[in-house]
Subunit: 301 residues, 3 copies
């Protein structure tokens, strides 16, 4: 009897979950596989750094070749599912042809991606006195993980792939605490130090040789408009050689930080700043209370 009762509530549960599931589209990319693809691409860009087995040099060509073919197959299938999900009208054959083309176009970009990511590694070594060598940076630095994943996702974004780029950058966000939207445009020699809490919005534009520290937000002034704001430039522009120190927020689509300008910590900017300026906040007044004294008062009271 009791068993039957149990089945009753289970049956009811299963039905209510299954029914509520009908509205879901029949095609969706698979998050787990998109993350696998991201890791495979990181291995391709820095072979030997992220593999569980030691890399045997004699076979490197075959190793790289097998990684490429694995990525190609998985990426093409996920792109196809993403296209079919986004545009209900597209027929399956067109989606397959298109995803094959996009996949090949993307794979051809890998050497370029590797080249620009190496400029980010150089910028990190130049920028961080605690960095011992490039290997430490490639292995361990969250900035390189987040920027590398962003550069991969941005290429797919430019090729018109839906859903997958954002899944990739949010994966990097969860690993590093650095949230870069795939739509942002970022130049070479980009350096993010520590990085936890960094937010770089969809329509942000960043030049070359820019440095950013933990807790910096490049954001929108207000999102009260919601979906009506989609596509509008809502996030700032940083020209070449700009430095933004920790916990500073720079907001607004018309806010431009001029070439070579340095913004200090904890600033809150919603207006443009010209080139070659050092902006710092007049830190708020501090009050000092003698704790020893106070305790004496309390006891003597």
């Amino acid at each position: 009897m009791q068993n039957l009762d149990k089945n009753d509530y289970l049956e009811a549960l299963i039905s209510s979950i299954t029914d509520s599931y009908i509205e879901q589209p029949s095609f969706l990319p698979n998050k787990g596989i998109v993350i696998e693809i991201t890791e495979l691409l990181r291995k391709l860009i820095f072979p030997g750094y992220f593999d569980k087995e030691d890399t045997d040099y004699m076979y490197l060509r075959y190793y790289v070749g097998s990684l490429l073919i694995e990525v190609r197959g998985k990426l093409q299938k996920q792109i196809c599912r993403a296209l079919l999900h986004e545009t209900a009208t597209i027929c399956s054959d067109d989606a397959e042809a298109l995803s094959e083309k996009i996949t090949v176009d993307f794979l051809k970009k890998i050497p370029e991606l590797r080249e620009i990511l190496l400029t980010d590694v150089d910028a990190t070594l130049d920028g961080d006195p605690a960095a011992r060598n490039k290997h430490e940076i490639i292995f361990a630095y969250p900035g390189i993980f987040a920027i590398g994943t962003y550069r991969i996702a941005h290429e797919l974004h430019l090729l018109g792939v839906p859903l997958i780029p954002r899944i990739m950058t949010e994966y990097a966000h969860s690993v590093t605490g650095i949230d870069i939207h795939p739509g942002a445009r970022i130049g070479h020699h980009f350096f993010i130090d520590h990085g936890t809490g960094v937010v770089i919005g969809e329509t942000t534009e960043i030049g070359n040789f820019v440095k950013i520290y933990q807790g910096v937000t490049l954001g929108a002034i207000s999102t009260r408009g919601g979906q009506s704001l989609y596509g509008k430039k809502r996030h700032p522009t940083l020209e070449d050689e700009v430095t933004v120190y920790s916990s500073t927020s720079i907001l607004g689509g018309e806010t431009i930080i001029g070439r070579g300008t340095v913004i200090g910590s904890n600033a809150f900017l919603t207006k443009s700043v010209s080139s070659d300026v050092r902006v710092s906040i007049k830190s708020p007044e501090l009050s000092f209370k003698d704790l020893k004294q106070r305790e004496q008062d309390e006891t003597s009271g």
Copy 2:
């Protein structure tokens, strides 16, 4: 000989670690399995989004059924261990009966959990101009991951389960950078954007249609009292339709933010604010130095 020496230090090490281990209770939940359970529940709430294989519609009922039965078995066992750990007095049979009852009561809540979590998805789509569709949000948005895990953990917390709810929310904290205590009370249509650095304390109360941005702390004024403060309301109350922008801290158990009020970025509040107010800080004065000029001075000096 050398081998013997080695064994010596190993034996000593093993003893010192084993001995120091005696004080540990014989029953503890298993963190790895609690995390598995959390992921299984996320699959049940959004089937098809988080599974490695593609979901075949014909078999969806069986798929959901098998997930439910797997969760039931694992959850019941972990709850039993948590109960036995917490209350040494309880006998094993009572613990098993109680954990079966709690597990069934919890599973029956899943459709409700799914319903309220879908209101959070709606709020996210309304609130973020960069969001393309609900699927992107369910796949990728850390706010939905953290809120969903909190809503699961909060139910178990209400059912009196020790240890497990906090392990679940700290798992979400490590994935998203969003730290929501299972004891907090949060209404429907809750939206957290970006989220890294958000802290929502144990006795926080949040109404419906509330929006919160990265780096917001809803915290206690001081924790110097330590354990003596347990149970006291130490964290603030946000009424319906409140918005709190990035890096703002709202502290104190008697601090109430009135309905519809909007708090700007970087504020630090320890007092209540009435309804329908826009609070913003007079940003600290900025100082501007011309770097070009300065460099000339330095070289000309």
Copy 3:
């Protein structure tokens, strides 16, 4: 034909990636295995908390012994690779002898590491009114995860191991959002609450019974000097019993916070503070706008 074309672009890709790979050193530690080692060490320090199977007491000695022998083998191999990578001159035999010695010296420190980490657990229980018991803290608290990993990495850093310590602390950074450089020096009874966004720089010195909250940076004033600053004390010193509340930045190698001093939230300090002082910022003025009123104006306009 089409297949041949495909092979063409694949061949070209494989070559360009393989060629660009030549400059990489032949010896590198393996990040995945270094992370496994970190997890094995956490199991050794808190056996029973992090294992997927239930721990059988009768066999605890054998369990601990097998963990120790697994760690020893893996750690010794990774240290050897790290040494060979760092110092091209060292011969392979010397590297193996040295890494065996370092490994044994490190393993002998485990009971000490366990002891000091238990003082951190005590400090956390004292400091957090929401904490129910030590088990919850060991299971779930990110502060304990980050401090424990730092204490392991710091020992290896003191023993002169390159690369591996930083890979370990950056692993903890990705799990917790707490970024502690292995070079920092930290006393016992250290408590970090919530922790997301905490940054503790390479040359920081922290005394005993220190408390730190989310978003606190103990950093350098400027890193414009880049590599030229390596080795210089660039980060602050916190004496015993100092408390630093959330989102405060304390910068500079000559900045000393005196014994027992408490620094409030959102402060920005680049100068020393004497002992037993309560420092708090005069929070910036707030402006209040009545939204209801404004809406009426708008509609009545």
